[in-house]
């Protein structure tokens, strides 16, 4: 159908370039809607089986996601970190790497941002804010450095090594917030309030829509630039066909280390905006499930600029709507997890041709361990 629009000969159609979004959109919009519909209907069935009314639940959910100024702010402030992590992991995904370590990198970024902000406590905001952002990004990068080097030089699987570093981050923040970073008066593990001069203020009063949300816009624009740049192209090429890329002089090790460092830096920035904008303090659960769902968002969005944005907004809305539904109707917010999982599963088939193309790269690079021997 879309081929006729483009006037190409269907039989000899050249392979679609990875970032041909307009065409993908036309061919896939109806099937995407179907996948969403299936997820919503199955979620409704689950509620029916547990004796809840799906209509009231979904009304409460939509209301909690879009129904008021506050609700919209919640949706945006939840979508932003997902989009940022989504774009970062998408860079790695396009280079053929699956990193689930964003969770730990968000935690590391939050610690880095807080420590930097405390160091610049008496500096002007114009210094303190960028410094904290940098601190967050650097800590996020540091947290992925070892997995990146192990992947590049010893073919150590990045899914599992970044997962272990997430465990390390969880233990580290638990230690820090129970000991050195804990204010003497606090009972539960937490840090001092985030320094005033580093706070990312609210855009709209009465909401939690803070300035940090715009970081997502900036990262999105950077990602658009990245996929069109020469370097981005060479990374994509490595993802799609490592042998060809290396014969063209692209260093595989550099692609692996750099793309993982980029994903670490973006996750670190999320730690920074969560600490400096949303929570204005650091807690043990600061990363909630952002790292994990950020990867899902990258998958769902097909690692493309528009796709990741839509997926992040959808997940942000589901999560804020789910929590609102829990407090107004008493239906557990885990229902949003179920719907998000169903969406991912539904899309895994709907995207099958595209995912096969995307994962041609992932699979070409894929090594659970050691070298893939052919």
């Amino acid at each position: 159908m879309a081929d006729t629009f483009l006037g190409g000969d269907v039989g000899d159609a050249p392979p679609e370039p990875l970032e041909d979004e307009g065409r993908r959109l036309t061919t896939s919009l109806s099937t995407s809607c179907l996948a969403v519909l299936i997820a919503v209907v199955l979620g409704g069935l689950i509620m029916l089986m547990s004796g809840e009314n799906p209509l009231t639940a979904y009304t409460a959910m939509v209301d909690g996601a879009f129904g008021s100024k506050f609700a919209l702010g919640e949706t945006l402030s939840r979508a932003a970190p997902l989009a940022i992590v989504g774009y970062g992991t998408a860079v790695a995904l396009r280079a053929g790497l699956i990193t689930i370590g964003a969770q730990g990198q968000v935690v590391a970024g939050a610690i880095g941002a807080l420590v930097t902000a405390q160091f610049f406590e008496s500096a002007p905001s114009a210094v303190a804010i960028p410094a904290a952002a940098l601190g967050g990004a650097l800590f996020g990068m540091a947290w992925v450095l070892i997995p990146a080097l192990l992947r590049a030089h010893f073919s150590v699987n990045e899914i599992l090594s970044t997962l272990l570093f997430t465990e390390f981050a969880a233990l580290l923040i638990e230690y820090l917030l129970n000991n050195p970073l804990k204010p003497p008066t606090a009972i539960t593990p937490q840090s001092d309030p985030y320094p005033d001069n580093g706070i990312l203020g609210l855009v709209i009063d009465g909401t939690r829509f803070h300035v940090g949300v715009f970081v997502a816009v900036a990262i999105g624009l950077l990602f658009v630039w990245w996929v069109r740049s020469d370097r981005g192209f060479s990374y994509d090429l490595y993802g799609e066909n490592p042998n060809l890329a290396q014969s063209l002089g692209i260093s595989g090790n550099r692609v692996i280390v750099n793309s993982l460092l980029i994903s670490g830096a973006t996750a670190g920035l999320v730690g920074w905006i969560q600490a400096a904008g949303l929570l204005q303090r650091v807690y043990v659960e600061i990363a909630s499930d952002i790292g994990f769902f950020g990867l899902v968002v990258a998958f769902l969005g097909g690692a493309t600029p528009g796709g990741v944005l839509v997926a992040a907004l959808l997940f942000g809305a589901l999560q804020s709507g789910g929590l609102a539904m829990q407090s107004s109707e008493g239906i557990p917010a885990s229902l949003s997890d179920i719907i998000q999982a169903l969406l991912l599963l539904g899309f895994s088939i709907r995207y099958a041709p595209q995912i096969i193309r995307l994962t041609r790269g992932v699979m070409a690079n894929f090594t659970l361990i050691g070298k893939r021997r052919k």
Partner: protein, 311 residues
């Protein structure tokens, strides 16, 4: 410090290690079957947690063995989705695996919240007693370490023997290996690749569910969200370390359990060292093992790639 020189410290650590390893043994043996057949089951975490919740909800009004069995079946039901989406509809294994993990965590969280009233009675089961083997349990310190365990542990060890036999001494085991190494060649020899992969994945779902059930009924006794705490992913590391051998997976699971127990027990010895640092020991060991085993491990050649039959 002097405690480290006492035999009881080490026998307690070995015993604790075997206890902590039990769920991992079930899960990693099942996953080994799936991966030998070429199916990368990242949904293992989901199978485990759904097995854990189901086993509790069945065992609470009835008996533990029934809960254990139904827990395994619940894991298998989730694995059936893996079969449908990845093996039959050719969706990416990694994506579906993550989806199933989230689905498992979300579904169990939902069911737990819906069925637990605030301030109401929490469903729980009493933990099993240890089965002492006469005479053997009386051996000075070795007896404490090795012979006083619940039936979940004993069953997992029996399972290792059975699975090792099936994997290396039966036609099915051979077919599993064939479809994981070279599905095209296996198909040319008349092996139904999709059927073998389906069976291996369902086995992995069943044993993953049993692993979750063993964790629940054997050592925790009550549910909490995120109960399995990434054990499903640890099982994947164990398999790599074992280089896809059944015996190795059991040993690897024990090694992880041992260092986890060591972390706990060292907390009583080195009181000044932060507990978080000691709890990091098993993960650090896992990282070292993961790195070192990249040198020798050789993964099944067809792992992670869907097989699309040519008509």
């Amino acid at each position: 410090m002097s405690q480290l020189l006492e035999a009881t410290f080490w026998s307690a650590t070995v015993a604790g290690g075997l206890r902590l390893a039990t769920p991992l043994i079930y899960a990693s043996i099942g996953e080994t079957f799936a991966q030998r057949a070429g199916v990368l089951n990242l949904g293992l975490e989901g199978y485990m947690i759904i097995g854990a919740l189901t086993s509790l909800y069945v065992a609470d009004p009835t008996v533990a063995p029934l809960g254990f069995l139904v827990g395994g079946l619940a894991g298998m039901a989730l694995a059936a989705l893996m079969v449908l989406l990845s093996i039959r509809l050719f969706a990416n294994q990694v994506v579906v695996g993550f989806g199933l993990t989230i689905l498992g965590i979300g579904t169990t969280g939902y069911i737990f919240h819906v069925t637990t009233d605030v301030g109401g009675r929490d469903r729980q089961v009493s933990l099993p007693s240890e089965i002492d083997i006469p005479l053997l349990s009386d051996i000075p310190w070795l007896g404490d370490a090795v012979f006083g365990h619940s039936w979940y542990t004993w069953l997992s060890l029996a399972l290792v023997l059975l699975a090792g036999f099936v994997a290396s001494r039966t036609i099915f085991g051979l077919e599993v290996k064939a479809v994981g190494e070279d599905p095209d060649a296996a198909a040319a020899k008349g092996v139904d690749v999709l059927r073998i992969r389906t069976q291996a994945t369902l086995i992995s779902g069943f044993l993953g569910g049993l692993g979750g059930a063993a964790l629940m009924l054997g050592s925790v006794g009550r549910f909490q969200p995120y109960l399995t705490a990434n054990r499903g992913f640890i099982a994947l590391i164990v398999i790599i370390m074992a280089s896809w051998s059944i015996w190795g997976a059991a040993v690897g699971a024990f090694v992880f359990g041992f260092f986890e127990a060591l972390g706990f027990n060292l907390n009583n010895v080195f009181v000044d060292v932060p507990i978080e640092g000691l709890n990091a020991i098993p993960f650090f060991v896992a990282l070292v093992i993961l790195t070192v085993s990249a040198r020798w491990a050789r993964m099944p050649r067809g792992l992670g790639e869907n097989y699309v039959p040519t008509v």
